[in-house]
């Protein structure tokens, strides 16, 4: 099964079809940890955590910042339902840096009012954005 003849990747967001094509490998971050998916993977549905989506095409690698959603993995293809996903050229580096600062401060100076889960998600998002830009 694990041959590279057309493993289909679709990344869809509510606003557009972000990516569609045949790939060799897909890597991204989930709530259970980072995973890399090769053709012939067992059927699996995972929840996405903010991180980098690495798409390995026959011609090379592509990266994008993937923030939220879930993915349905099947032996012959993978569908990522993403709420937010961005190519590096769509990211504003300065804004991401500022967001990273803000999130770090919020976590450092936290009190009972702070929504820690939200601050952590914001931190992860900003980190993913900056990482993808490098």
């Amino acid at each position: 099964m694990a041959e590279n003849n057309g493993y289909r990747l679709r990344v869809v967001t509510p606003e557009r079809v972000f990516y569609e094509g045949d790939v060799e490998m897909v890597e991204f971050n989930t709530t259970e940890g980072e995973i890399g998916v090769l053709p012939g993977h067992i059927p699996l549905t995972v929840i996405i955590k903010p991180g980098i989506l690495v798409i390995t095409e026959p011609e090379g690698k592509k990266e994008a910042a993937l923030h939220a959603g879930f993915a349905e993995i099947l032996p012959d293809g993978i569908t990522i339902l993403a709420e937010i996903v961005e190519w590096p050229e769509e990211i504003d580096g300065n804004r991401a840096e500022a967001a990273l600062q803000r999130a770090r401060e919020r976590i450092a100076n936290r009190d009972s009012q702070t929504d820690l889960a939200r601050a952590e998600t914001a931190l992860l998002r900003a980190m993913a954005r900056i990482e993808v830009l490098k």
Partner: protein
């Protein structure tokens, strides 16, 4: 018979109204095209979402999950998507009727979450309680708005304030056909189809936790779909209404032109008769 001046005045007034309706028709045609593009792009997301959710539910079967059971206390909540502007024919009334004329709903059992001011006004007049009002969303519906609404509704659901959640919107079939639609969002009722080609789907995290995370996304995607379809329908309805208004004006103008010509002819005839009679009297 009306005087020539009156007819002329009336005709020019109709003509300027016609210019307005014609312009509005053109504007809504452009807006419709844009909105329809948005509705079509969001469709594939929604289809995938629906497939996945029904797949999951087919696997978990009859699980006692909070989002799959009706709440024990509280009222029904309905999201009513209408427009902020009128002149769209029956668009707003038709969708509001789903709420105000629903035989099973009494105004005191229902909380309305209004998106669009026209529907809000109709529901308020019928005696429904407007729980929340977000007319600004309709200007430019974004997925973030749908998530925002979902979070508020799910919180009210978990707090026991509401027991069921409905969505009333106008489905966009094509340019001329828009169907007012009422769907139930919570508790989730998805046709539990067969799991895809017998393959067992695995979940990470496990089923119930996955449901906790996926169902809010599913509801947000339904609401977002409702918003973009409603926007397309609104512009489609307005385009049709303005098209009718323009052709009605055309007809009226033609009738008035005929009346005007007749009035002019009869006044000429009368003048001539008077002149001839005068000349006869002198001669």
């Amino acid at each position: 018979m009306a005087s020539m001046r009156d007819i002329k005045r009336r005709r020019s007034s109709i003509q300027s109204t016609q210019q307005i309706t014609k312009a509005m028709k053109l504007v809504s045609t452009v807006k419709l095209q844009r909105a329809r593009g948005g509705a079509e792009r969001s469709k594939s997301y929604f289809t995938c979402m629906y497939d996945t959710v029904s797949n999951i539910l087919a696997r978990v079967g009859h699980v006692e999950h909070k989002y799959l059971m009706p709440g024990k206390t509280g009222k029904k909540a309905v999201i009513l998507i209408s427009s902020n502007r009128g002149l769209a024919g029956g668009y707003n009334n038709n969708v509001a009727k789903l709420v105000t004329r629903n035989p099973e709903w009494k105004p005191e059992d229902v909380l309305v979450y209004a998106i669009g001011s026209k529907g809000r006004d109709i529901a308020a007049r019928a005696g429904f309680e407007i729980r929340e009002d977000h007319p600004e969303i309709m200007e430019q519906p974004a997925y973030a708005d749908a998530m925002f609404l979902t979070n508020r509704l799910l919180k009210a659901f978990e707090d026991g304030e509401i027991s069921e959640i409905y969505l009333a919107y106008t489905a966009f079939k094509n340019t001329v056909s828009h169907i007012p639609t009422l769907i139930k969002l919570l508790p989730v009722e998805v046709e539990a189809g067969e799991a895809q080609d017998g393959a067992m789907m695995n979940f990470e995290p496990a089923d119930e936790e996955a449901l906790d995370l996926i169902i809010p996304k599913y509801i947000a995607s339904l609401i977002y779909g409702g918003l973009v379809e409603a926007l397309a329908s609104e512009n489609g309805a307005r385009m049709q209404a303005m098209d009718n208004a323009t052709s009605n004006a055309e007809e009226l103008i033609d009738d008035l032109a005929l009346m005007y010509n007749r009035a002019r002819q009869s006044s000429i005839t009368q003048e001539l008769t008077e002149i001839i009679a005068g000349a006869g009297a002198i001669g």
